[in-house]
């Protein structure tokens, strides 16, 4: 199991256990973590699972694909650390990953 921490817009942190191979979005939905909507269900077809990756994790998590960049155009307050959490697979080496959820998804 891999621990993932989601910090919401008000600073509340929630740490849950994710399964390797699931996505960071699915892990949030499964555990009822607020702040991630995932309207399209993980098809990289909306932008309602937008998260900010904490600085120290950015390199390990990696950069968005061109398709994901396109979808990020629909998100609000996009920053260099922005990713869509449906496109990040949980891996063993992401144990401890911390992401922040934006004020609003849609």
């Amino acid at each position: 199991m891999v621990k993932i921490t989601y910090i919401d817009n008000e600073g509340t942190a929630r740490t849950v256990e994710g399964e390797v191979g699931a996505t960071v979005m699915e892990t949030a939905i499964k555990h009822g973590v607020p702040g991630i909507e995932a309207e399209c269900g993980g098809a990289c077809a909306c932008s309602t699972c937008h998260v900010y990756i904490e600085e120290e994790w950015r390199e390990k998590v990696g950069e968005p694909s061109p398709m994901e960049e396109d979808m990020l155009d629909f998100a609000f307050e996009v920053k260099p650390s922005s990713r869509l959490s449906c496109q990040i697979k949980v891996r063993q080496d992401l144990d401890g990953l911390t992401v922040r959820t934006p004020e609003r998804q849609a």
Partner: protein, 353 residues
């Protein structure tokens, strides 16, 4: 008020499941009207990801989302369903046993024996940017759609976004606006390359401005915008003077009026149904596809196809209470083939040896 449209079935939502419902209902002689808030048929498949591939439709190894919609339209052609696009169902009222009065926000009224909710994730509505204090400007000087181009003549227009809507309206409004600025967070665009080239040509000719950044706040009075405060990617801010702002951040799905029709919703967003016939807690109202919930539910198009077949069996009992329903296959039933307007190939001739 004009007479209500009388029909067997009103289907709310013209996505793939709503479309296939027309087929299954049609085989059992039930006529349908479909209502959708979008300006096109196909739901999410057509609106969100028309070009994305789908690999899990049984018997169809590969199709695009729009391709699936087109195939379904061809498949249901014999049943002459009628479409009411750009309309959102506002109320569903039970007036008989069962008989429903369905009203849309455009004032269209139906009297329908049964109602099938195939509304997917809900109704599509434009995404509102989370700009603090934007509300008083909405509908006055901030618009999420262009209804009348003429109303932008002579105005300083700020368009925000990088997709087809943002680029199309940039090109269309550039000749009318006194000044037009396109604002986008990066220099790549999702929009059609041809539109991007045309836009860049206008920038090259000094006819419009293209600016990189994101809107952080608005200035103005009484709903009339005067400036947008823009944050650049390096964190600095500057103002863009404008009379109107058009943000194009795509669409979002909201459950909308469905939430008020008296169903006990699961997780506040899904309509529980039984898996025998996909009827809701209200007899005569069914829910199929992504909007329903039952134990083990999978949000797959193929699940929705199965659901509408079973739904149609029960719907038949409401529409034709005195008739006996005979189960038939399209492969062998000449009456079903007649409804489909097809004739099977003749049996092979015996071969002489």
């Amino acid at each position: 008020m004009s007479e209500p449209i009388k029909t067997d079935v009103v289907i709310i939502g013209a996505g793939p499941i709503g479309l296939f419902a027309v087929f299954e209902l049609g085989l059992l002689d039930m006529k349908a009207h479909l209502i959708d808030i979008l300006d096109k048929i196909g739901g999410q498949c057509a609106e969100l990801y028309p070009e994305k591939p789908i690999y899990d439709i049984p018997g169809v190894p590969f199709t695009s989302a729009q391709g699936l919609v087109d195939s379904l339209l061809e498949q249901i052609k014999p049943f002459g369903a009628q479409y009411h696009l750009n309309e959102m169902v506002e109320s569903v009222e039970r007036i008989g046993d069962p008989l429903f009065r369905v009203r849309t926000d455009q004032g269209t009224e139906f009297e329908s024996k049964i109602v099938v909710i195939a509304a997917g994730g809900g109704s599509f509505q434009p995404k509102r940017p989370p700009i603090p204090g934007i509300e008083p400007y909405e509908g006055k000087s901030v618009f999420y759609a262009v209804r009348k181009m003429e109303s932008f003549r002579g105005k300083r227009v700020l368009i925000v976004g990088g997709g087809d809507s943002a680029l199309d309206w940039t090109l269309n409004l550039a000749p009318l606006a006194s000044h037009l600025t396109l604002l986008h967070r990066r220099s790549e665009f999702r929009a059609a390359p041809d539109s991007v080239n045309k836009m860049m040509a206008l920038v090259g000719d000094g006819k419009i401005d293209f600016v990189l950044g994101q809107v952080a706040a608005l200035k103005g009075n009484d709903g009339q915008i005067s400036e947008a405060i823009v944050k650049t990617n390096d964190g600095s801010t500057f103002d863009i003077a404008c009379d109107v702002m058009l943000p194009f951040f795509g669409l979002t799905m909201k459950l909308g009026p469905v939430a008020k029709w008296g169903f006990e919703l699961k997780n506040n967003e899904l309509i529980p149904v039984n898996t025998e016939n996909f009827e809701t807690s209200v007899p005569g109202i069914f829910a199929v596809g992504d909007i329903n919930w039952y134990p083990g539910k999978l949000k797959l198009i193929l699940s929705g196809f199965h659901e509408v077949a079973l739904m149609a069996q029960k719907a038949y009992r409401y529409c034709y209470p005195d008739k006996r329903l005979v189960f038939q296959y399209t492969t062998s039933s000449t009456s079903l083939q007649k409804k489909l307007g097809v004739s099977p190939p003749p049996p092979p001739q015996p071969v002489k040896v």
